[in-house]
């Protein structure tokens, strides 16, 4: 029943897309300055049907309608309601439907919010966006239909992978998808702007908010994913340079570059081609990431599927996208004259772009190199985290410096200002670094430089913030907030990286272990039944011998019944200055429990910094709304 409703809704969205493309094409030839009413109503129907189809799937999950294969494979009648709902986008088919929802949503919003812009530009955007929608709907229908039915109807479902049953992971996909799929709209807009020969400045104005929205959501999505990995995967790290994490980082670099250069296009009407390239690149990288993750080519924490036919379709679609956009780009490019002095703001923004492209290239090479080597020589390799650290860390230093100096310069050409202020701030950064060095003890040459430059950026941002509040320069807030967040992020990661305590050992119940000034007493084991799992809870008493301060931590081993899986739940005591992190595991039911104990300074601050970066973009959106 639901399966039929869902399929009908999807098919009607498909036909509506075709109708929109046809009507928009006809309307292009009309000399009238207004877009036909019918296109608006078709779009409204399209978005309504799409959202309804998604609701149908959610209803199927809530009422455990196991006649739908997707529900059967990914849900179970005894699962808590919240995870039944979240389960609807926690699998390949459902997430593809969410993907289409966002494509359609952005298509509709772009149509209704940009009424000030040129008609031709808007129509072309609509046409290309609907081509993208068509492509993904066809993909959904031919091999990933979430509404496929199964007969006879199974009695119960197979259940959702327990490590996905987690609040952070329930909101992680929607956030990330808004971020990644949101890029589609300026991919379409970029092609539209080339075809309609739209002016660079107008184009920049049209896409700016959309770039910011998707940037904010991407930043949030990546952060939430990282938080999930921190407490759910039980390794105690927050970034592993795992291929999937890399895949999410690639579009983020491109979009961060775009966010900066779109300002140049808006203010100075130059760099048009570069902005177009970045618009195209961002969405292409998003789809590439999807391809790498869904095709099963890469080996990682995300195990959606290893179905090669899915990979093949995405690859075909991806190549089609790349070729179309390249052909249009080379046919329609215009000659541009670049004229700005070397010390202007444009130069600094370009420098930002150079760095972003460098980071992007590094991560891209590290991620796909194993695939190439496998195809060419058959050797199976993996690229370890040291690669990224050795290549990226040295470049973070000049990057941080440019982030500090760049915003001080003005458009076209900078006046020479007194350097005293900067000098004092730099001195302050040195002093802070030396104090840290004194308290924490040794760290290497690079770490010193990184901490100094990060502190420099933080201090400078704080002083800038003070000044702009005094002078009521609200337009500077977003930049200051995000740059401050980035400085903090680098700073806290630096300290965290060098001063984490991490040990593994095996312990029996009743034993005590002393390490790094902590006394760890394994008191007891209790077993507790829960709705869809049984937990084995360890009672640990941890005493800080220096401060004579005792706390209790309770890591868990969870035995899930549907599907039968073990998960290890870390016990984390978060404080402002540090996190205590404890996981326990047991492999062969021996008396020994395997314990991982960590003390990680400033963990919370890493998350706060990442959220601060996103906050900057958010503030910009609010400011813009108030301007109108």
């Amino acid at each position: 029943m639901l399966s039929n409703i869902g399929s009908i809704l999807i098919l009607s969205v498909l036909s509506l897309s075709l109708l929109i493309i046809y009507n928009s094409y006809l309307d292009l030839k009309n000399n009238n300055q207004l877009i036909k009413k019918s296109i608006y109503s078709l779009s409204l129907f399209q978005i309504t049907f799409t959202i309804l189809s998604f609701f149908t799937l959610i209803v199927g999950f809530i009422y455990s309608d196991f006649s739908i294969i997707n529900v059967y494979e990914n849900s179970h009648s005894e699962k808590p309601l919240f995870y039944k709902i979240a389960g609807s986008w926690g699998n390949h088919e459902g997430s593809l439907l969410l993907w289409i929802n966002i494509l359609v949503l952005f298509s509709y919003l772009f149509l209704i919010f940009n009424h000030k812009h040129n008609k031709k530009f808007r129509l072309y955007t609509l046409i290309f966006q609907n081509f993208l929608i068509l492509g993904f709907i066809i993909f959904l229908l031919i091999n990933s239909n979430p509404f496929s039915s199964i007969y006879p109807v199974p009695l119960d479902g197979l259940g959702l992978n327990p490590i996905l049953q987690d609040p952070a992971l329930a909101i992680h996909p929607p956030l990330l998808y808004i971020g990644f799929v949101g890029c589609s709209i300026y991919f379409s807009a970029a092609i539209a702007s080339m075809l309609s020969e739209y002016s660079g400045k107008q184009f920049a104005l049209a896409i700016k908010s959309w770039v910011q929205i998707s940037w904010v959501f991407q930043t949030l999505g990546i952060t939430v994913g990282s938080i999930w990995a921190y407490y759910e995967l039980g390794w105690g790290g927050f970034w592993f340079w795992d291929p999937v994490e890399n895949a999410s980082l690639l579009p983020w670099f491109a979009i961060s570059a775009l966010m900066h250069s779109v300002m140049v296009l808006e203010k100075r009407n130059t760099l048009y081609e570069w902005v177009i390239i970045l618009c195209l690149l961002t969405f292409i990288l998003s789809v590439t990431g999807t391809f790498l993750v869904r095709s099963g080519i890469l080996n990682s924490v995300h195990t959606f599927a290893n179905d090669p036919s899915r990979g093949l379709y995405i690859l075909l679609f991806l190549s089609l996208m790349v070729f179309t956009s390249l052909i249009i780009f080379f046919k329609k490019r215009k000659k541009e004259i670049y004229s700005f002095k070397s010390s202007s703001k444009e130069t600094f923004i370009l420098a930002n772009n150079w760095f972003m492209v460098f980071f992007l290239a590094t991560v891209l090479i590290g991620t796909i190199y194993p695939i190439f080597l496998d195809v060419i020589t058959g050797a199976k390799v993996s690229v370890g985290p040291p690669f990224y650290n050795t290549v990226i860390i040295p470049l973070v230093i000049p990057f941080l410096l440019l982030m500090t100096f760049g915003p001080q310069s003005s458009w076209i050409k900078s006046k020479k200002k007194t350097l005293y202020k900067t000098f004092y701030i730099l001195l302050g950064a040195f002093i802070i670094n030396s104090t840290l060095f004194y308290f924490f003890g040794s760290f290497g040459f690079y770490s010193n430089l990184i901490l100094i430059t990060a502190t420099f950026l933080i201090l400078h941002s704080v002083i800038d913030a003070k000044k702009s509040i005094k002078n009521r320069k609200t337009f500077e807030y977003p930049r200051i907030i995000s740059h401050l967040g980035f400085g903090m992020l680098v700073f806290f990661i630096g300290i965290n990286h060098h001063h984490s305590i991490e040990t593994d050992f095996n312990l029996k119940v009743g034993e005590t272990k002393i390490l790094y000034g902590y006394e760890l007493f394994f008191e007891n084991i209790t077993i507790e039944p829960n709705k869809n799992y049984k937990s084995i809870i360890g009672d640990f008493k941890i005493t800080d011998l220096k401060k004579n301060y005792t706390q209790y931590l309770n890591p868990e081993i969870r035995v899930y019944t549907n599907p039968e899986t073990l998960t290890y739940e870390a016990a984390i005591k978060s404080k402002i200055s540090s996190d205590l992190y404890l996981t326990m595991s047991n492999v062969t039911r021996s008396d020994f429990y395997n314990i991982k104990f960590q003390n990680k300074p400033f963990m919370i601050w890493i998350w706060i910094s990442a959220f601060t970066i996103a906050l900057g973009g958010f503030v910009q959106l609010i400011l813009k709304k108030n301007e109108k």
């Binding site: 995967l233 194993p370 690669f387 050992f505 039968e564």
Partner: protein, 142 residues
């Protein structure tokens, strides 16, 4: 004769070329230093010039009844059903690590029969198998 503008453009392009070349060399060098090769127990046995003491990955299935745990370490045998290797590891194993299941260990060879791991990967769900291991099993089944 080149105009001033053309001259500065050539210098600019030349600089870009140099910078890109240097960065490319830098990236490739660090890449080669940091790649980990994947081997099976059989490959380790057969390969004469396998470097002992270099970081690498070993994969296969955890042999039934081979896991031994003491105060410090966990030891187990990894097999590709032709050859075996003993792996010693001090640390927490992932939740999907179990006897008879696929595993990938990252670490260094002590000798051809003994491997000291510093990381164990088995972070796949119960239906999923690392592609490397799937391939081994398919080959050995023939």
């Amino acid at each position: 004769m080149l105009t001033k503008k053309a001259k500065s453009r050539i210098i600019f392009l030349f600089f870009i070329f140099i910078i890109s070349a240097v960065t490319a060399i830098f990236i490739i060098k660090s890449l080669n230093k940091n790649i980990l090769y994947f081997s099976t127990p059989t490959e380790i046995k057969q390969n004469e010039d396998i470097s002992i003491g270099k970081s690498m990955r070993v994969g296969g299935m955890v042999k039934k009844n081979s896991i031994v745990i003491d105060k410090r370490n966990i030891q187990f045998v990894v097999t590709d059903f032709k050859n075996e290797i003993l792996i010693s590891y001090a640390g927490t194993v992932p939740n999907l690590f179990a006897e008879g299941k696929g595993v990938v260990a990252e670490g260094k060879l002590k000798d051809k029969n003994f491997f000291i791991a510093n990381r164990i990967l088995a972070k796949h769900d119960e239906k999923y198998m690392p592609p490397e291991i799937k391939e081994i099993l398919e080959n050995n089944a023939k």
